[in-house]
């Protein structure tokens, strides 16, 4: 047993977590193993808001400039939007800048935020709090990220951008220090890695500039930052959000955020509930992955939360139509890598940690970062210089923009909560009142995996037996995520060696999709259940890209 562990002592996830498999994530350009090879000017990994905004801005700029730029976007999901998940309440400024000829009414939003409420919950009651200044959403819009991504995708295609769905980038191709491109994942392998009749070899795509827009906990972005030794003042921190969409009998006409119950005092997070339509409600629970108790299960906590009168009142008699999960980078300003550009590469959006937790915003930062990258890339292409020095223009644009200004203002707010809800709440209030000036210094944080967890003797504190009407099992959640990954797919998760029972149980609670189970005293890995939320990569077995089209098929998440 590792240091500091044992019943009544602490469990440290990092003790059982394998290192990032950079030998698989980073390959030398020209190495064997690829089938086809394609050359592009700009290759964008990830068709999320950042990647697509970059593609659109680049195509628009090139068109205006009379330059031809060959742009390809790779997306691991089978269709656009199927791996996109967010709350979401969107700040429209990036949309307005990217599409100056369109009006707000033309954008893929569901409706403006009319009313909002922030509540502190106890087991039975909800106390309305004054809305914290960081959370005011007047002027913002409620939206589905899946719908936003599909809309952006259509615009990109209309501009001549090649969007390839079902093609995950599995490894970076490097030529010394320069990123030359990526290699896609193979498809059509059986569980033992043997080719099936429809086996398709990986493809190499090489480009002058590779844009990494993989979203939260991007594998290639991590590998590149690691290899290049690029660090940040604090490690990146993550929260896990589990979300559902419901068709409700009772209409909802405001956005709601809650704090408090059912979160234990040593877990940071809260819930959201937004009306996509009066009777189509998106709701979820977000919990920081540095939670104190090893047995905490975010999915289960979320199921319990729905039984609270505040939520139950809307959901009773309705139908859960979608379920999903995703992590969110929460470290803020101090966790953003010192540089997000290099020879032949730039990193956008969530992969670069550009998320503001107190206001729960990331989509417009992602898009804006994509647009800045596009500008820097076009200049570098025209001067035929895609070196780190040239592409550093992207970093300059981001650093001097509202993105970093916003993140700086709230730089310690989330971090304050590492001391628990009440102390944290107090600190946050002070920060808000002083505009972030107190405390001005950085609050140091440990990686989530290094945070020791309490092992309690109680196995499942107040667990809920899913009733199939208001509450659901993980397996049923995965069904509602649209996940129909074939059962015979090779396992894409790298588990540590000799994982003890405590770690196995910890993984089983941590994973919202039921990938990990403890059966007959050992760890079972149900890899096809995985919905690519990346919680496992933060706290447990490492996540690697797998066959294209695997994972969830979100429709309106």
């Amino acid at each position: 047993m590792a240091r500091g562990e044992g019943r009544g002592e602490r469990f440290v996830p990092a003790n059982y977590q394998p290192l990032l498999p950079t030998d698989r994530l980073v390959l030398k350009e020209g190495s064997e193993g690829a089938g086809d090879r394609m050359e592009l000017d700009v290759l964008i990994v990830g068709a999320g808001p950042a990647g697509l905004a970059c593609a659109i801005e680049l195509a628009q700029l090139a068109q205006r400039d009379g330059t031809e730029v060959d742009i390809g976007v790779l997306e691991k999901a089978e269709a656009l939007g199927e791996h996109s998940l967010s709350g979401a309440v969107v700040n429209p400024r990036a949309f307005r800048e990217l599409f100056p000829d369109l009006k707000d009414a033309d954008f893929p939003f569901r409706g403006p935020v009319k009313q909002e409420r922030v509540c502190l919950l106890t087991g039975r009651r909800a106390f309305t709090l004054p809305t914290p200044p960081t959370m005011h959403n007047a002027g913002n819009y409620i939206a589905s990220l899946s719908e936003i991504v599909r809309w952006l995708g259509e615009r990109a295609a209309a501009l001549g951008v090649n969007v390839f769905t079902g093609f995950p980038a599995a490894s970076l191709l490097m030529d010394e220090q320069r990123v030359a491109g990526i290699r896609t994942a193979a498809s059509g392998l059986d569980r033992d890695g043997r080719p099936l009749a429809n086996y398709m070899a990986p493809n190499d795509l090489v480009a002058k500039v590779t844009v990494l827009a993989e979203g939260t906990r991007g594998a290639l972005a991590q590998a590149w930052l690691d290899r290049q030794g690029v660090s940040s003042e604090n490690p990146q921190l993550f929260a896990l959000g589990v979300k559902e969409i419901w068709e409700t009998k009772r209409p909802l006409d405001m956005i709601v955020h809650t704090l408090g119950w059912p979160l234990p005092a040593d877990a940071f997070g809260g819930s959201f509930m937004y009306p996509l339509e009066p009777n189509l409600v998106a709701l979820g629970l977000v919990v920081g992955l540095d939670y104190g108790e090893a047995g905490l299960d975010v999915h289960e906590l979320f199921q319990r939360m729905k039984l609270h009168p505040l939520f139950r009142g809307y959901l009773e008699g309705g139908e859960m139509v979608e379920w999903g999960a995703k992590t969110i980078p929460e470290g803020g300003y101090y966790s953003v890598p010192a540089r997000r550009s290099g020879d032949g590469v730039v990193i956008l959006g969530d992969s670069a940690g550009l998320v503001d937790v107190p206001s729960l915003k990331g989509i417009h930062y992602a898009m804006q970062s994509g647009m800045f990258a596009a500008r820097a890339i076009l200049t570098s292409l025209k001067s035929d210089d895609t070196s780190a020095a040239r592409l550093a223009e992207y970093d300059r644009l981001v650093n001097s923009s509202f993105i970093m200004k916003d993140l700086y203002r709230t730089r310690n707010m989330r971090l304050a909560f590492k001391d628990g809800f009440y102390v944290g709440g107090l600190k946050a209030a002070v920060m808000t009142a002083t505009g972030g000036r107190i405390p001005g210094w950085k609050i140091a944080m440990a990686r989530d995996a290094d945070v020791p967890r309490r092992l309690t003797s109680r196995l499942r504190p107040g667990s809920v037996t899913p009733d199939g009407k208001l509450t659901f099992s993980k397996v049923d959640g995965v069904f509602k995520s649209g996940n129909a990954t074939r059962d015979t797919i090779p396992v894409h998760l790298v588990v540590g060696r000799d994982v003890p029972l405590t770690a196995a149980e910890f993984y089983a609670r941590m994973c919202p999709a039921g990938v990990y189970e403890v059966t007959q005293g050992t760890l079972r890995v149900n890899a096809p259940n995985c919905v690519d939320c990346k919680a496992t990569d933060v706290l447990g077995p490492r996540w690697l890209p797998r066959e294209g089209g695997s994972g969830p098929k979100y429709k309106r998440m």
Binding site: T465, P466, G468, S473, V475, D476, V478, F479, K480, A484, T485, R486, D487, T488, T519, R524, N526, P528
Partner: protein
């Protein structure tokens, strides 16, 4: 009405009773008669019983080439009969043969065909049918114009009903060849075991079985149904390597729609239900009374499957004598 029946090796196939029943229902609504039609190489055993189910006449047309299904030959003869006989409707079984034959006849006659229907009726003098679409997620009601209206009936739905009529048996030889498409022979399916997606009865096991060796109790139950049952499995036990993927029932496995589905030691996750929810009758055996499977089952027994299943096997064996 013209009811197109099926024979194999000179014996009437049971689905033929369903076809006559369906045709009789239409005939009663329209005030007509039912002519049952058989194509064969010679006499067909069981043809004389068809009066019981409502056939006014049973016509056997013989031709040396018609012993086995002859797609073009059959289509030609049936289309001729249908055109000259003044029939208001032609009814087929939506069996493998029927689904192949009915479209050919429809095209020859220039008439519409409703395949795989679960209900037939008459409204304002027109033949109206109901059929499942979108994998059973919706039911379509269709009105057929034109004469004759062609329908094929989903097997195991039109439970044969005794409506005795004369059932006068006629036989005649017909000319003509089998056509360009020739059925050489019928060979047994590989491995002999009944496929989970084809079996009229499926007995499925899940984690409640505890160990792979325990599937023996399900195999014994399946065997008690005398060749009509296959053993299925939930995803959990297939993942654990206890059963082959070909037996997996569920969203990522096979979708089955048997007459009887017995879920043993299966909790009833939605992804499993997605694969068997259109079964005609669902029985669940599980020791957890809150298992979601009981919400979808028509009949359930709460108890230890190791006690219940062997007893069930005994009772089924008794039935089959």
């Amino acid at each position: 009405m013209l009811a197109v029946l099926e024979q194999r090796d000179g014996a009437l196939r049971k689905v033929s009773h369903e076809v006559v029943t369906g045709a009789r229902r239409l005939a009663d609504a329209l005030g007509g008669s039912v002519d049952a039609l058989l194509l064969a190489a010679g006499g067909v055993k069981g043809a004389d019983q068809l009066g019981r189910f409502g056939a006014d006449k049973v016509i056997t047309l013989t031709n040396a080439a018609f012993g086995m299904y002859a797609p073009e030959g059959y289509a030609r003869v049936i289309a001729e009969r249908a055109a000259t006989g003044g029939y208001r409707a032609v009814v087929f079984a939506a069996s493998a043969t029927g689904k192949d034959l009915a479209p050919r006849v429809a095209a020859r006659l220039g008439c519409a065909l409703a395949q795989d229907v679960t209900d037939v009726g008459v409204e304002a003098g027109a033949v109206v049918v109901t059929r499942p679409v979108y994998a059973g997620k919706a039911l379509l009601t269709l009105k057929l114009a034109g004469t004759p209206a062609l329908v094929s009936l989903r097997p195991n739905v039109f439970t044969p009903v005794e409506r005795p009529r004369a059932g006068v048996v006629e036989s005649a030889a017909v000319d003509g060849s089998a056509g360009r498409v020739v059925v050489q022979r019928i060979r047994a399916a590989d491995a002999g075991a009944l496929d989970v997606a084809e079996a009229p009865i499926v007995v499925s096991g899940g984690r409640g079985l505890k160990e792979p060796a325990n599937f023996k109790v399900l195999e014994e139950l399946a065997a008690a149904f005398a060749g009509r049952a296959a053993v299925g499995a939930s995803r959990a036990v297939v993942d654990a390597g206890w059963r082959p993927h070909a037996d997996q029932v569920g969203q990522t496995g096979k979708t089955v729609s048997p007459t009887l589905y017995v879920a043993v030691g299966i909790s009833g996750a939605i992804q499993h239900l997605a694969g068997m929810r259109t079964s005609k009758v669902i029985v669940a055996i599980n020791k957890d009374k809150d298992a979601p499977i009981f919400k979808v089952a028509d009949y359930g027994i709460v108890g230890d499957l190791f006690e219940v299943v062997p007893k069930l096997t005994e009772e089924i064996k008794k039935l089959h004598g």
